[in-house]
Symmetry: C2
Subunit: 143 residues, 2 copies
């Protein structure tokens, strides 16, 4: 299935959360027909935060509240905050030492950069940077 | 907005790609009304692969094809393969040394574990593990 018809297929069969942006699908063309695989992710900004004092509930709640506040920024298409999880199969290669996984989906890199310099994002960093010991960012664009 | 009404809001206003599963939203309740923020992510399995020989196009293509083949596995709700990207703002804390970012969304941990032990996934590892020097897995469940 070519890109154009794949897109058409997706537009017909699913809602497009990220309307008009590039889409990618992990699956081969046969699997595109599997409606479980509806990938509308074009640019991924995944940030991991390690709290200085991970057992301090006040610090945890404060950073979580700050992270939730970022969702107001309009360029964000999809957002998710997660806690570490470990599966037995991947245990030897899993990093579950972080406090928060923050996954943000953007339409493209330009939108991500608008988000990053938004005053709300900058204020979030100023107000909360004393709480974390480490931050790691993984950015990627669809292949 | 309580969880139940937030879910109701989302069900009314957006399609649910991950129907019937937990949803999370980064945003505060005010931002929930921002239709740009439609997060339907419940369990995230994010895997980074480092090729042994990152400049070898044959190895790159072979691993990419193998990764795409995994999309056939039915438990996958959303899937994405990305290439590293660097933004100026986060550059000091960005890891862009990997070859592939593979982001898979599952309805829950049980579905992820079914995926992991699927013979197709196990065969993918056997057939491609000679190509990578490092794999790091970050699993998380919605807060």
């Amino acid at each position: 299935m070519k890109n154009s018809s794949r897109r058409e297929f997706l537009e017909k069969s699913t809602a497009t959360l990220v309307a008009g942006t590039g889409m990618t699908i992990l699956a081969s063309s046969e699997a595109t027909a599997n409606s479980n695989v509806d990938a509308q992710i074009s640019f991924v900004h995944h940030v991991f935060f390690w709290l200085k004092d991970p057992k301090n509930k006040q610090d945890y709640d404060q950073l979580l509240a700050g992270l939730r506040g970022l969702g107001k920024i309009k360029e964000i298409k999809m957002a998710y905050i997660g806690s570490p999880s470990i599966n037995e199969f991947d245990k030897p290669v899993t990093d579950a030492s972080y406090s928060f996984s923050v996954l943000l989906i953007f339409a493209n890199k330009v939108d991500e950069e608008k988000y990053l310099v938004n005053p709300l994002h900058k204020k979030f960093i100023e107000d909360h940077k004393n709480l974390w010991s480490k931050v790691v960012v993984y950015d990627s664009s669809t292949i």
